[in-house]
């Protein structure tokens, strides 16, 4: 039986960088508990000696020649940013 506490919700919200109201926390506590209760059925599946599958295709380390390829221009990409200065993205101060 999964038990998600309000502190658990605040912790994952901090990790995911999402601000939550107290109301959000209470609601997500209930929703995540119910969902994880359902997920807990997997505990009953025997997986000893079973390898995990992260990916279904037998492709590993796809390489190409080390030659410069055309890419998106940084000045064009910077125009997508909500705040910018020239070809740079502007953000609030990082250090206090």
């Amino acid at each position: 039986m999964a038990r998600v506490t309000p502190d658990d919700v605040r912790h994952v919200a901090m990790l995911a960088r999402i601000a939550l109201s107290d109301h959000d926390v209470r609601q997500l506590e209930q929703e995540l508990t119910r969902l994880l209760d359902y997920m807990d059925q997997l505990r009953r599946v025997a997986t000893d000696g079973v390898e995990p599958t992260t990916h279904v295709l037998p492709l590993k380390n796809v390489l190409r020649e080390d030659v410069i390829q055309p890419g998106l221009r940084s000045d064009v990409v910077a125009t997508l940013a909500p705040h910018r200065q020239g070809a740079f993205v502007k953000v609030p101060k990082v250090l206090e």
């Binding site: 919200a13 995911a16 960088r17 995540l32 997997l42 599958t53 998106l72 990082v94």
Partner: protein
């Protein structure tokens, strides 16, 4: 309604190539149809006629060639079309204009297609009903009080309502097939790696595939053969030749062995869906195939497995929406720190279901829970894939319902996330195993709602699925039915 609007993409392309119609005339007629119907169905977020006409004018000055010469194609709002807004139906990406075109778009345009319209979807493809879109709900053309399915609900509804000749969707857990079934059109999720994901805004990178939603099986074959194939820009695209799916549609299906997984027929299956599937099995037998029951014992674990893996991958993929590089940025005046900007931007830019999935995925990946949830799910994924490997040793194809029920009512499940997740029971295993799967119409309920059957095949055997589906379609008339609710708007 203009008579050409009911044509398939292939039939339209033939008329356009012969010069009997002009691409710009088709676009104007389609735009008029959308203007009539979209206020009822809301399949399109936007349909910019001017940019499409500019493209049509270029085509009209050149030679009339290409498999999709002059054919308008609708695009789900998570596939990048250069210079066009692409927002995944989310506030957090509002205003984002894609600086490049997805590989599938480049390939369609190289065959003469005209991209026309942004199709509505669940926000970031998180949903099975198109109710989580930040741009409003799409309605099912067969019953405007019901959902069209999701997440490619706009694409499916547009094709069903003759507001599009064909559309692209994306399928992470059934997002092409389930809306195709609920709207009475054909939807194909290719094998993982068959179609490049370059320019598809990522939800769950080990599960996502782009595919077509079309009026018939021939169009699904046509669009797949145009968009499929290796792409150096997507390292997970398979370096394999692409067969000519349209040329092999009529291959014999006699003697093929069809497995019917019994786990898909259990509790929760609507009786009318069950009856339609039994009739579909009989039809395949009349066409010379042999249907037998098969067991796939790990099927009941698929939803829990899927929602752990998909949300874990989504929590990582959506970390990039932080107000820095594109889309929405929320700051509360001066003195805001970078951290506060991230948290406020995501709090205000993401909808409730997106937050729920990001937090569930973050939880499953976090210290102390990684092994119990995420790693466990990856191991069960192996067992689910092995079920398919074993079934395909004996059977050429598997037959299941696409959805356990016909379209449900708007609002019926949106406040109960688990009940919404459970509606994906028939479609998610194909994504976990990476196998191709196709949904096609196989009946109508007493209330006149469409039902779909799903064919699942061995990896990279889309050609066989299409052959079986084509044979079934030739023998039945379900694909010719049209929704009355939007017939004469």
């Amino acid at each position: 309604m203009n008579e050409w609007l009911t044509l398939t993409a292939q039939a339209l392309a033939e008329q356009l190539r012969r010069g009997e119609l002009q691409p710009s005339d088709v676009l104007r007629a389609l735009a008029a149809r959308i203007a009539d119907i979209n206020p009822l169905v809301h399949a399109y977020i936007e349909a910019d006629l001017e940019s499409a006409l500019t493209r049509a004018a270029v085509l009209e000055r050149g030679p009339r060639r290409g498999k999709l010469y002059g054919v308008p194609i609708g695009v789900k709002d998570n596939i990048c079309v250069a210079g066009r807004e692409t927002a995944c139906a989310s506030r957090i990406l509002a205003g984002f204009r894609a600086p490049y075109a997805a590989t599938v778009i480049q390939r369609l345009e190289a065959e003469g297609a005209v991209m026309f319209g942004r199709l509505n979807m669940d926000e970031f493809a998180f949903g099975s009903s198109t109710e989580t879109s930040a741009y409003g709900i799409t309605k099912n053309p067969w019953d405007l009080d019901r959902i069209p399915g999701g997440s490619s609900g706009g694409s499916a509804a547009a094709v069903a309502a003759d507001c599009a000749f064909a559309c692209l969707g994306s399928d992470t857990g059934g997002s092409i097939r389930q809306p195709a079934a609920l709207c009475g059109v054909v939807g194909l999720k290719p094998t993982y790696g068959r179609v490049s994901r370059y320019g598809l805004i990522a939800f769950a990178s080990s599960l996502d595939q782009i595919g077509p939603l079309t009026k018939d099986v021939t169009d699904a074959a046509l669009l797949l053969e145009v968009i499929a194939g290796h792409d150096p820009a997507d390292s997970t695209s398979a370096p394999l030749e692409v067969p000519s799916y349209t040329q092999h549609l009529t291959a014999s299906v006699e003697g093929l062995r069809i497995g019917i997984p019994q786990e898909y027929l259990g509790a929760g299956l609507d009786p009318e869906v069950k009856a339609a599937l039994a009739a579909a099995g009989q039809q395949l037998e009349q066409l010379g195939m042999r249907c037998e029951p098969v067991t796939m014992p790990h099927t009941p674990s698929a939803i829990a497995t899927y929602y752990l893996i998909a949300t874990a991958e989504a929590s990582s993929n959506l970390a990039r929406y932080d107000g820095v590089q594109y889309g929405l940025r929320v700051t509360d005046g001066t003195g805001t720190t970078l951290r506060a900007m991230y948290e406020q931007t995501r709090a205000q830019g993401l909808g409730a279901e997106a937050k729920r999935r990001i937090l569930l995925g973050t939880y499953a990946l976090s210290r102390g829970y990684y092994e119990a949830y995420y790693l466990k799910a990856l191991k069960v994924r192996t067992l689910i894939k092995q079920d398919f490997d074993r079934a395909f040793e004996r059977y050429d194809c598997l037959l299941t319902p696409t959805s356990p029920t016909p379209a449900f009512r708007i609002g019926e499940r949106i406040h109960d996330p688990l009940s919404m997740y459970l509606s994906d029971i028939c479609t998610i295993s194909a994504n976990l195993a990476g196998v191709p799967a196709l949904s096609l119409p196989c009946g109508l309920t007493r209330d006149g709602l469409p039902l779909g059957m799903q064919l699942l095949g061995r990896p990279f055997e889309e050609a066989r699925l299409l052959q079986i589906a084509y044979a079934y379609e030739q023998a039945t008339a379900w694909h010719t039915k049209h929704p009355e609710a939007v017939a004469h708007a």
